[in-house]
Symmetry: C2
Subunit: 180 residues, 2 copies
């Protein structure tokens, strides 16, 4: 029986925080590096800046030009699709302005993924797949299948999930599952 | 343990085919009644008209002014929310132009539904809830929980699911489940 894998977008496929860091620096006169922004700064922004950032994120093109987080992701997802049902599951409901840019981004980088397998949701407790690859400990906790934590500076203290550092590791892991 | 219910939008909450029939009549010089359109005509349109209809449906406002299918739906969904986790699960991926209008329509008629519980998907095989209320036999077949068929002229021959004719019936059914 083919197993199914749901894959998160931001900070698993797309480099969301790189764009967010650039947006902060350009608009708030700061000079954060991507590394310091992702590791902590993003949580410590003044409330007013966070509110303003949601406005930027809600602009129809914000999510359109995100970079691929790991260039291997495209090849690996395409290979995994030979043996697994691949779904994309992205939390988009708090940023409705992002719907079309996220959809177009997937068509651009992952055109081989069946459109019927794209899911824009809120909580991932509603996702019915065997695996979920996500950077968010919260989403993995509410998910009912096997959680794969995509390692990020802000989730280093999280335990209880299989941790993956890049898409090559993910490829190896899921190849091993096939022969188990 | 609270059970969860996923609810489809088109032809369960929103009167999609009424708008589609009106669109056909206005653009193709026909004079179909809603009843004959929904019962059969919609499937027999010339390919060129069907193609054109997808263009209309993809316009950003097409889904914005759909009528409520059954006025009781609003009250019943609100009441069900006291005892069930309510999700909205709508197949939207083939009509990406509909995302924002569908989202705004839900905010207008069902503002009490948690945004985190809204799902835009393709196939509903990916939906993890106890129940799914849907007019589509195909979606109910791939869904893994208990399927509730919202009765429509085009699904009269479908068997194997609990059939509901309106939202008052749905209210009674789910009240009964609570005391079982």
């Amino acid at each position: 029986m083919r197993k199914s894998i749901a894959i998160d977008m931001d900070q698993v496929l797309a480099n969301f925080y790189k764009k967010l860091c650039k947006t902060v620096n350009e608009n708030f006169g700061t000079n954060y590096t991507d590394e310091e922004f992702i590791a902590g700064t993003r949580r410590d922004l003044p409330e007013e800046q966070t509110k303003k950032l949601y406005e930027y994120m809600n602009e129809p093109d914000f999510f359109r030009d995100l970079e691929i987080l790991d260039a291997d992701a495209i090849d690996v997802v395409q290979k995994l699709q030979e043996n697994y049902d691949i779904f994309i599951a992205t939390a988009a409901m708090e940023v409705p302005g992002s719907f079309n840019a996220k959809y177009d981004w997937l068509q651009r980088y992952f055109p081989f993924i069946n459109k019927q397998n794209i899911v824009f949701c809120g909580t991932k407790s509603v996702i019915h797949t065997d695996y979920l690859i996500d950077d968010s400990p919260y989403q993995l906790e509410v998910f009912k299948g096997t959680g794969i934590l995509y390692s990020m500076p802000y989730n280093q203290s999280t335990e209880g999930f299989i941790r993956m550092n890049n898409w090559k590791e993910i490829e190896v892991y899921f190849q091993e599952q096939l022969v188990k």
